[in-house]
């Protein structure tokens, strides 16, 4: 089994390609073949770019043959969440409103992938415009959890997580607004990292909530994620909110964490999360606590910290994110690109705009646009959006105060494991609870990582590590140390999908 290309780590594949034991083309082909074989069952991809991926792979092989020095992931293919703009390749945000749109430009993240010589396998499924926690709100297809195909893969980035979990890609790009990288990671037994807000460019990332959206890596282990993190990170003058500072040394941290030594590190457990964890499934709690024991054995000191404002994080998020979304999604009006509906030559412009949005957006997107429009309306804006911003400031202060007492915070990534299809779509609040533990970090802007920690009833559970702003390296160090206690890695024990 170990000799299968698709079972190898990204770091291992990169070394094979660099040192001539494999070609990028053969590696890329292996993953494309895997997609052909199992994606009918998993449903992770919305678009597969076989020709484009192989062309890039051949270029890398030629460059290596010519003796060129390439980056640490050269030749290793990547899947990209379909909310990241790829020039010449369909980009839909899993929405009907962008069906058929071929972007004329590349996101900064995509440019950096190309510069690093990573073939792009295709675009992965998500909840429409990244709004959801199960990928059920995709307008195109259902994505299955490779651990149990009757269950959801998390969301919004269920496609990227499922692609990596089912070994259709060694690496994937996700985006995280309230947990969309970490929560799918947790429920599919993969590792997902949300970098510090502003450390990874949002240019070309289709906006859901501008002050929260962050692109980041999905992988089966911390080092692979860190290598991808370093490829896509760094200042971008095209993003005004981009931080102009050196990228934290995450790959180095992942390597040093692999030694399993966490002595001297103080990890905070948030008192208010323990209350919240009361709402978490007992099995999730057990797996998480077992992980905490492991961290203690590795030398970490656990301290309890208090973050009183965390209790308000969920409602705060559900005011700020929909408010920004209601404005960000206004551009989808059928005038310049994407779907246009009802333009029969008799209807007015306004009617056509309205019909286009009616036909093009799904129920969750409409719900959030309405919520956000309301929260920003005259007479309500101070009470809703304005107060949410104030609470957000308090949450930031809580984090800052906490990092005076410890190096990072830990928690379960999500209160429950992957649920069955349709189980929570009837009650939005039950769906929103999936992000209870991931949302505070987005409101703060710091890094968060979800690392597989154990199983509950056979389904994966994730442990979340939250660091201070630009302290991404700490989160990788802890994740990597936790992995050192697993043999095999939890991420590698997913049930085999037979496919065709």
């Amino acid at each position: 089994m170990d000799d299968r290309i698709i079972d190898r780590t990204a770091a291992g594949l990169a070394a094979d390609i660099r040192e001539g034991r494999a070609t990028s083309r053969s590696v890329t082909e292996a993953f494309l073949d895997r997609i052909d074989a199992v994606d009918g069952e998993v449903g992770a991809f919305l678009h597969v770019d076989r020709d484009g991926a192989l062309a890039t792979a051949s270029e890398v092989d030629a460059a290596l043959a010519a003796g060129e020095e390439l980056g640490p992931l050269a030749g290793v293919p990547v899947a990209v969440k379909d909310i990241v703009v790829t020039g010449g390749m369909p980009t839909t945000a899993a929405s009907k409103i962008l069906e058929g749109w071929i972007p004329p430009y590349d996101a900064t993240v995509v440019e950096r992938l190309q510069a690093a010589g990573t073939p792009i396998l295709g675009k992965t499924n998500l909840d429409e415009f990244a709004m959801g926690s199960s990928t059920e709100y995709s307008a195109y297809r259902r994505t299955a959890n490779p651990w149990d195909t009757a269950r959801i893969p998390g969301g919004s980035g269920g496609g990227s997580a499922a692609a990596v979990a089912a070994k259709m890609a060694p690496l994937a790009i996700g985006t995280d607004t309230g947990g969309s990288i970490r929560q799918p990671g947790a429920v599919t037994g993969t590792l997902g990292a949300k970098p510090t807000y502003g450390s990874n460019s949002r240019y070309g990332l289709i906006a859901f909530s501008s002050s929260l959206d962050t692109p980041g890596p999905v992988a089966r282990n911390a080092l692979d994620a860190a290598l991808l993190h370093e490829v896509i990170s760094g200042h971008d003058p095209r993003d005004s909110t981009s931080i102009d500072a050196p990228v934290p040394p995450v790959a180095e941290a992942a390597r040093s964490g692999a030694s399993g030594d966490l002595s001297g590190l103080r990890l905070g457990v948030v008192e208010q999360f323990a209350e919240g964890a009361g709402a978490a499934e007992p099995g999730v709690l057990d797996a998480y606590l077992a992980g905490v024991d492991q961290l203690v054995k590795l030398g970490a000191e656990i301290v309890e910290v208090s973050c009183p404002s965390f209790s308000y994080a969920l409602p705060t998020y559900y005011l700020i994110a929909p408010s920004e979304a209601s404005s960000n999604l206004a551009r989808y009006d059928g005038v310049r690109y994407g779907l246009r509906s009802g333009d029969d030559g008799r209807r007015s412009l306004e009617e056509v705009m309205g019909l286009t949005r009616e036909a093009g957006f799904g129920p969750e997107v409409k719900r959030r646009i309405i919520l956000g429009t309301y929260a920003l309306s005259a007479g309500y804006v101070d009470q809703f959006y304005g107060r949410a911003q104030k609470v957000r400031t308090l949450i930031k202060r809580d984090f800052e105060a906490t990092f005076e007492q410890c190096d990072a915070l830990i928690s379960p990534t999500t209160p429950f494991t992957a649920f069955k299809y349709g189980e929570r779509t009837g009650d939005p609040y039950q769906m929103y609870l999936a992000d209870l533990f991931t949302i505070p970090t987005n409101l703060y802007g710091g890094p968060g990582i979800s690392v597989p920690v154990g199983l509950s009833d056979g389904m994966p559970v994730g442990l979340q590590v939250m660091g201070p702003v630009m302290g991404d390296d700490i989160t990788y160090r802890v994740a990597s140390a936790l992995e050192s206690t697993q043999d095999p890695l939890l991420a590698d024990t997913a049930p085999e999908i037979e496919g065709k």
């Binding site: 749109w101 705009m353 920003l376």
Partner: protein, 495 residues
């Protein structure tokens, strides 16, 4: 047909309060949030990119040159420059606005609390500035197929996004009470002054006819001692003359309504260039809720004080100072200079003087004959089909004795009719002064022969009687003789 009071009756009963919002497109070369060029008049949709078309995923980055230009305007208008300022989104749907929100500023404008001093008829007015903020322009929509060019009745709408994202500075005054019956002139004088200030800064070409300076005019009326009335906002008043006309019209229209006991609706109105009237646009009472909130895609700006002071000390000579200098150089009185300013003739007179005319002559032509022509045809001085160089040439011909005033006016007719420059027109229309002494002597002799009584009187010492003979000579030469020369000739022959 709108019912109107006479202006005099309106002013006898009410006091106007003005408010002006002016939009100025900056000449930054590139757009506010992307690198697209801003040149006027390019083929539609050739100056666009993912950012200004609002493609999914595109992000704005603020143009430093535009921020700097706005601060210069703020400083020239005596404003305070914010230490902390940010952009905000103004949300509303319109097809020429690619994002369906305009990136503007709301509670934290870049510049606040300034003033502009203007003078009308010897009185000085201080127009206080509430704020100067930075935003982006929209695209342009063309409605095809309807009779009016408006969206109503159109069968197709075309959008040109070249203008979308051009940096736009909005300058908002505080309410301006106390202008009384000079309100229309004060409004015009303010916009003129603003335009001249911005032009002197070199940050915009401020051409109203191209839309790089656009003005919204707010007017309300109240009886003396009463609270201010309900205002109307007349949108897109796009020439200095129209500013004055729009204010005057709104005063007359509102006065008629108030006289008959009706209420003024708070609304936006359109100005019609052809009739000088305004008509209702959308009502403010049912206006859009813009749902302003801070723009999360753009970093907060904190202009450092050193930068601000450097800009302040680098401001050029502002129009007010420049006018004082020119007034002294030209030897004009204060009122005379004010007339020049209010006629928007400073630049054109300066150019005429530079082309060789004496200041007195340049002022005389532009404020007299040429102002009259401009008024008759309803255009600005600068839009007349005669320029400073031609006026200087014309005056040169007068100075040389080749033209007299009457002939010069006829030459102007020809120049305005595109018949060529002054010399060409004089030649082609045969308008030169008759300086051929032989021809003139013959005409004088003829006049003496035809008016023996008058000739006798002159011989008898009654020189006043020469008038009749001069008139006869002028008539026979079709006005092309120099009256002084004719008089001398008559007196020498009969003296």
């Amino acid at each position: 047909m709108t019912k109107l009071s006479t202006y005099e009756a309106a002013m006898a009963a009410y006091e106007p309060v003005l408010g002006l919002e002016t939009h100025i497109e900056l000449d930054t070369g590139t757009k506010m949030f992307c690198g697209c060029p801003t040149a006027f008049g390019a083929e539609p949709n050739t100056q666009i990119c993912p950012v200004c078309l609002a493609l999914p995923g595109a992000l704005p980055v603020a143009n430093r040159a535009a921020v700097e230009a706005t601060m210069k305007i703020g400083l020239a208008l005596n404003c305070r420059i914010a230490e902390w300022t940010r952009f905000a989104r103004k949300n509303y749907f319109y097809p020429d606005m690619p994002k369906n929100f305009q990136t503007s500023q709301y509670e934290e404008p870049l510049c606040e609390d300034g003033y502009v001093d203007v003078a009308v008829d010897g009185d000085h007015y201080r127009v206080e500035i509430e704020r100067v903020h930075l935003e982006e322009d929209t695209g342009k929509t063309l409605h095809v197929g309807g009779a009016t060019g408006r969206i109503h009745g159109a069968t197709e709408s075309l959008v040109d996004y070249n203008r979308a994202g051009i940096p736009l500075v909005e300058i908002v005054t505080k309410p301006v009470p106390g202008a009384g019956d000079l309100a229309p002139e004060v409004a015009r004088a303010y916009v003129t002054e603003l335009r001249d200030i911005v032009r002197s800064l070199g940050v915009s070409d401020v051409r109203m006819e191209q839309g790089s300076l656009r003005c919204d005019v707010n007017v309300s009326l109240n009886r003396a001692g009463d609270a201010w009335g309900t205002r109307t906002e007349t949108k897109n008043v796009n020439s200095l003359r129209s500013v004055e006309r729009a204010v005057r019209h709104e005063i007359r229209r509102q006065a008629a309504l108030l006289d008959s006991g009706e209420k003024i609706h708070q609304e936006t109105r359109h100005f019609h260039e052809a009739t000088g009237e305004t008509s209702p646009g959308r009502s403010k009472e049912e206006a859009t809720d813009y749902r302003y909130f801070p723009e999360p895609d753009l970093a907060v700006m904190e202009p450092d004080r050193e930068w601000v002071e450097r800009l302040r000390s680098g401001l050029p000579e502002l129009p007010r100072k420049r006018r004082e200098r020119l007034r002294a150089e030209w030897g004009l009185g204060e009122l005379e200079m004010q007339s020049v300013v209010n006629a928007d003739a400073v630049e054109i007179i300066e150019a005429t003087v530079a082309a060789g005319a004496s200041p007195t002559a340049a002022v005389k032509w532009w404020l007299g004959e040429l102002s009259r022509r401009a008024n008759e045809t309803g255009v600005e001085l600068g839009e007349l089909r005669i320029g400073p160089e031609q006026v200087a040439e014309l005056q040169g011909m007068v100075d040389d004795g080749r033209l007299n005033d009457k002939l010069a006016r006829q030459v102007i007719d020809g120049v305005l009719a595109d018949e060529g420059g002054p010399a060409e027109v004089a030649a082609s229309r045969g308008l030169e002064v008759v300086s051929d002494t032989g021809a003139l002597e013959a005409a004088v002799d003829e006049a003496i022969a035809a008016n023996p009584d008058a000739a006798e009187k002159i011989r008898g010492g009654k020189h006043a009687a020469a008038g009749a003979l001069i008139g006869a000579v002028m008539k026979s030469t079709k006005g092309q003789a120099d009256a002084g020369a004719v008089r001398e000739l008559i007196l020498s022959k009969l003296g």
